[in-house]
Symmetry: C2
Subunit: 327 residues, 2 copies
DNA sequence: GTGAAAGCGCTAACAC
DNA sequence: GTGTTAGCGCTTTCAC
């Protein structure tokens, strides 16, 4: 392995000067050129491990998400990656499966590995971020704002719920159900509140039978649709799907039960990039997942650079895209 | 930060003994207990950076893939992660966008960071893995076997192409087209060969007009379908989609053009987890992406443990799942 | 079985 | 602006 000592010897300077060249510290142009030449001929690559040990901080950002198989989170990951790479940081993706214990394990690793900071979509209400923040490491929450006093980038969940519901109601639907994620996840509750808002704003009654707290997964959408149609109450004529995966499940099950799009309108909160359906065949409230990632990464990089300011929460609006046909 | 020196002092032993306890080297039970007690009261966590600098190897596996937003690769990533975590390794996900330059950058980082090994789905024919392998780091290729003399885990692509095509032909289709990825990617060519095989095995003529090399993305499927139907030749009555994303594009466009499933059967090589379609409404050849990940991870861990043997290529078969209705 | 001591490659005082 | 030097926390000979 070639080290700064080898480069220093060949360039006729001290190791410290080599280090300075690589850290943007003032060095005479003459010596800097000699160092660059020597480094090139020796094919020198700085050893990041040694640098990390010495400076107590690695050029790495941990990205902790609850479900790596959900396109919503991978789209966000792309946003984080792009901004981080530009600033010379690597991104380490950690998948928690929504399990607070796994999550705690990753937080520990991130601290132990001296990672520069973390962007996290918390697993749930049991998440404990104090281990990381108490080590004074910068952290930005995404998608779900934890109670902790930290920077956060979230979606306008309540407004998204209201927009999705409103689109169905305004299209003449009168019994619009709502299927969201677990009750202990705030994004689920907020989207449900939006569903309620849309009814109240139009002077309509709210039937709580039509509100279902499930999982934010395909299976959740499938199960809830069955429960709605197999129960004693009247069938709904519209469904608001609380996220992309629930939307997939609802659409699958609607097809399997041979329910017509006329008979049951669906509006999804989130995008369906792999739905295999004609464009604009389903009403969606697009959530800017990639923007969430880039925004979070920029906030984090500011903190890493030592910017001092009050923690802030950035709220990103969704965009209603109405189905071209009966949704 | 608490170090092995602090633990040693409290336990009344030398730092070397503390190190031995953490590395499974023989230590008297008495002293080992003292060390564990001291470590517990001080909340000691070994510093991995220092360990890496000293041993020249980190407990990290690099997972390099061309498209983090493709569910096929994220499913594989889950498999890798699960096996790696069990063995005490962290996984770092690197997204290349199919860009050999980006890929080269990640290979460099992996070497510089002393990562223990790498699992890679190569970006393309320009990929150069020698930088990594010449540093004597273990590497396992997945999905796409590079020319290099390395371990690899791939799908039975030709057989998958034949199975998908055969399902359509046996259902009475007579003009079955095939849309695969770029011609310079071997998986694309192999799947196309399978399409050819299926025809020849049935004594049918092969019309090369029906074979399209596109990108392995949604857009590729959309564009190719349009080209097939807008060209001068007769319309196809069946399409083999060369991967999951092409399948999504084909199904989208089929719907948008209001082409009936009766008029155009589709068989997809790969799974469609988020297709929002009724179960078994499309014929698919399921590819065991997760298994590919776990198998690759196990091979890699063997190499990391120093197992010596000839490089091997594991071929994983797909599973034909016929559509219940006219596919 | 155990301890002393050197050193992995780098950075940051400090002295010049 | 530049060189000397100590040391980040750990592992690993080498002696005992």
């Amino acid at each position: 392995m070639v080290t700064i000592y080898d480069v220093a010897k060949l360039a006729g300077v001290s190791p410290a000067t080599v280090s300075r060249v690589y850290n943007g510290v003032a060095v005479s142009e003459e010596k800097a050129a000699a160092v660059r030449d020597a480094a090139a001929t020796l094919q020198f690559t700085p050893n990041r491990t040694a640098r990390t040990l010495r400076t107590q901080t690695a050029q790495i950002i941990a990205l902790v998400i609850p479900d790596i198989e959900n396109p919503y989170f991978t789209e966000m990951a792309r946003g984080v990656e792009d901004v981080a790479a530009e600033a010379g940081y690597s991104v380490v993706l950690c998948n928690t499966d929504g399990d607070a214990t796994k999550e705690a394990g990753y937080l520990g690793i991130a601290v132990a590995a001296h990672m520069a900071g973390m962007i996290i979509a918390v697993a749930g209400p049991d998440s404990d971020l104090t281990g990381f923040t108490s080590a004074a490491r910068p952290l930005v929450a995404v998608d779900r704002a934890p109670d902790a006093y930290v920077d956060a980038v979230v979606m306008a969940n309540r407004a998204a719920g209201e927009a999705a519901t409103g689109a169905l109601l305004d299209a003449g639907r009168s019994r619009v159900a709502c299927i969201v994620g677990p009750h202990d996840i705030a994004t689920a509750r907020d989207r449900a509140l939006g569903w309620r808002d849309a009814h109240l704003a139009r002077g309509l009654e709210v039937d709580d039978e039509l509100l279902r707290y499930e999982s934010f997964r395909v299976e959740g959408g499938r199960a809830a649709l069955d429960a709605l149609f197999d129960g004693d109450a009247d069938d709904p004529d519209g469904i608001v799907a609380g996220n992309n995966l629930i939307g997939v499940g609802v659409l699958q099950r609607r097809g399997e039960r041979s329910i017509d799009a006329e008979a049951l309108g669906v509006a999804v909160i989130g995008s369906l990039p792999f739905a295999a359906l004609p464009e604009a065949s389903v009403t969606t409230v697009r959530l800017p997942a990639r923007d969430m990632g880039t925004t979070a990464a920029r906030l984090l990089l500011e903190r890493i650079d030592g910017v001092q300011r009050e923690p802030q929460t950035v709220v990103l609006p969704g965009t209603l895209v109405r189905a071209a046909t009966a949704g």
